[in-house]
Every structure is written in structure tokens, then in C-alpha cells.
């Protein structure tokens, strides 16, 4: 009896197939894990979309880096717009405060004039209101010698100080026949407005 190996030539071919199958089996969990990672990625993206409602518009199917870059670019725009708006709000606030300040300054002059015009005479000599500078007022307050003080002037200064204005005054009293003349200069510290 002769011993003949019928698979002698087939043996190496069978080994290569085994190796290929083995490689495929080995790669299978790797591929499965890769799929799991992709699922984790999608879950995370969905979570971020749900958590941050304003950023959701920019989260699509693109690469995460592209999405991040897009949101960063939009963020820069939003920050810039916000800064512009905030600056505009500050400007408007300052303007309104300044407008209120000038209104009060003039309004008090009218109020005190109406209160004391029956007994005192008031002559306005100069008025200077300029933004960024101190307000200036120069007037003459005349009353009869029967009255000791100049009510208009006293009350005007009190009212300005009550309104929060810091004042410096310069006054000269003149005795003139039957009247007392008070020449007064008021400077209100308003340069900071």
C-alpha cells in the first residue's frame, strides 16, 4: 500500500484562509467599537443640541471641528454685536441723564423765579450750558431793603444742591438807594456728565 497525501499541495492555501478569517474575527470587535463610538458621538451631539438651544441651529451632520469652528465664528459676531449694543445703551443712558440734568437746572430757575418774582427782581446776565463743562449762571437778585435776605438766590442754591449738584458761588452785595442788589455767579460741577 502506497501512502499518498492528497492535500499536500492544498495545505498552504488552507493556512492563508485561516489567517484571513482570524484577522477578520480580530477586526470585528474593533469595527463594532468604532460603531459604538459613532453612536456615542451622535448621542453627545443630540445632548448638546438639547442643552444649548441657541447653538442648536449650527449643529448639523458635519464634522465636529467644522461645527465648533462655525459656532466660534457666530460667537465672535454675537459678542461684537452685544458690545456695540451695550455701548449704544450707555450712550443713551448718559444722554438721558445729561438731558435730565439740563432740564432740572433750567426748571429750578423757573420754579424759584415764579416763587419770588412778586417780592424780588431777578435779572439774568449770563447762562452757559455746555456738555462736558461746568454749568454757569450769573444773575442779579434785587429786593427791597425791608427784606434781609435774597430768597430767590438762597432757594435756588438749595434746590440745586438737593438735586445733587455741587456748586461754587461768587457773590457781591451792593447797597443801592432803597434796594439790596445781590450779584451772584453760580458754577455747577457738571463737567463729568
Amino acid at each position: 500500500m502506497v501512502d499518498i497525501n492528497l492535500y499536500k499541495k492544498k495545505k498552504p492555501k488552507l493556512k492563508l484562509t485561516t489567517v484571513l478569517v482570524l484577522i477578520a474575527i480580530l477586526l470585528l470587535p474593533v469595527l463594532a467599537l468604532r460603531l459604538t463610538i459613532e453612536t456615542i458621538k451622535q448621542t453627545n451631539l443630540a445632548e448638546i443640541k438639547g442643552k444649548y438651544q441657541y447653538a442648536r441651529t449650527y449643529i448639523g451632520d458635519d464634522d465636529i471641528e467644522v461645527i465648533t469652528s462655525r459656532i466660534k465664528s457666530e460667537n465672535t459676531k454675537v459678542v461684537s454685536q452685544t458690545n456695540t449694543i451695550k455701548a449704544e445703551i450707555e450712550r443713551i443712558k448718559k444722554d438721558l441723564v445729561y438731558a435730565g440734568l439740563t432740564s432740572d437746572f433750567i426748571n429750578e430757575l423757573g420754579i424759584q423765579f415764579d416763587r419770588y418774582k412778586a417780592n424780588e427782581k431777578i435779572f439774568l446776565e449770563a447762562m452757559n450750558i455746555t456738555r462736558g463743562k461746568d454749568f454757569f449762571l450769573k444773575y442779579y437778585n434785587v429786593n427791597s431793603k425791608n427784606f434781609d435776605n435774597h430768597q430767590f438766590s438762597e432757594e435756588l442754591k438749595k434746590a440745586y444742591e438737593t438735586n445733587g449738584l455741587s456748586l461754587t458761588t461768587n457773590q457781591v452785595t451792593i447797597d443801592f438807594m432803597l434796594v439790596n442788589i445781590l450779584q451772584e455767579e453760580i458754577t455747577a460741577k457738571t463737567a463729568k456728565y
Partner: protein, 165 residues
């Protein structure tokens, strides 16, 4: 050992190397990269969300101011009407009214009264001086005229471009 064979051992080693390399390349590195990107994205989205909320709040504030200011926008038109009525030749420059000239006490009082009640008009400049040597006129009943060297009144306005965003 002889039973397994050297080639088979090499095969197992190569297979393990392929497995580990594939794991590192396709899983570990990918996962680490994805994790870093997700963290970065979350951080960016959070920052954007916060900044967008601040933007919405600031926009809302600006709209509120605009509403307040717009409601009083008639003040400038009223001032113009009044100045026309008391015959003052003012100049208009955008949202500004500019005037130079002599005014009698009544006209001056009218202007001051109006401005003192306005909320959206700001006096950029008012330089007024009596036209007479006052101490000499004190005994007289008439109040002297005032000379306005410069009067500039401006309407407070919000920049439309910023408002529209």
C-alpha cells in the same frame, strides 16, 4: 511547544499586533479625538448660549430705550413749531437745532420753559448773555434782551443700524 509550532506562534503574535494596532488606531485614538472635540464643542456651545442670552437681553434693553425715546420724539417737532411761532430763525442739522441771535425775555423764557420739560432733548450748547449793562438797568422796569451766542439742542436718538442688528 513543538506541537504548536513556531509559525503558528508568529501568526498569533502578528494577529495580536494587528488587533492592538487596529484598536489603538480605530478606537482609542478616534475615541480620544472625539471626546476632546465633543468637550470643545460643548464648551463653545455653552459660551455661545450664554453670550446669545446676553445679546438678547441687551437687545431687549435697547428696544425698551428706543420705545421710551420714540414716544417722546415729538418733542423736537414741538420745539421747532414753537421756535417758528416765536419767529426765531433756527437752522436744522440732522437731529439738531442750532440758533444764534438776540431774543427778547419772553422768547428766551419760552425756549427755557420748553426745554425744562422735555425728556429727550439735550442742550449741547447754550451760551446766552444779557445785551445790556445790567446794573444800570436795575431801576428800570423792562428786562433787557438776551443775546444767544450759540444754542444747540439735539434730540436723543438711537442708532437705527444698531437697533436693526
Amino acid at each position: 511547544m513543538n506541537k504548536i509550532g513556531v509559525n503558528r506562534i508568529w501568526g498569533i503574535i502578528i494577529a495580536l499586533v494587528i488587533l492592538i494596532t487596529a484598536f489603538v488606531l480605530f478606537n482609542l485614538l478616534t475615541y480620544l479625538k472625539m471626546d476632546r472635540q465633543i468637550k470643545d464643542l460643548e464648551q463653545t456651545a455653552m459660551t455661545y448660549n450664554t453670550n446669545y442670552k446676553i445679546f438678547l437681553e441687551a437687545s431687549g434693553n435697547l428696544r425698551d430705550y428706543n420705545k421710551q425715546v420714540s414716544e417722546k420724539a415729538y418733542e423736537m417737532e414741538e420745539l421747532e413749531k414753537m421756535m417758528k411761532m416765536i419767529v426765531l430763525n433756527y437752522r436744522k442739522n440732522g437731529s439738531k437745532i442750532i440758533f444764534t441771535g438776540a431774543v427778547n425775555p419772553e422768547q428766551f423764557s419760552n425756549i427755557l420753559n420748553y426745554i425744562s420739560n422735555a425728556k429727550t432733548l439735550k442742550i449741547n450748547k447754550l451760551d446766552a448773555q444779557s445785551q445790556a449793562e445790567l446794573p444800570l438797568l436795575i431801576g428800570e422796569s423792562d428786562t433787557p434782551d438776551m443775546y444767544i451766542k450759540e444754542l444747540e439742542i439735539e434730540l436723543i436718538q438711537i442708532n437705527d443700524k444698531i437697533l436693526e442688528g
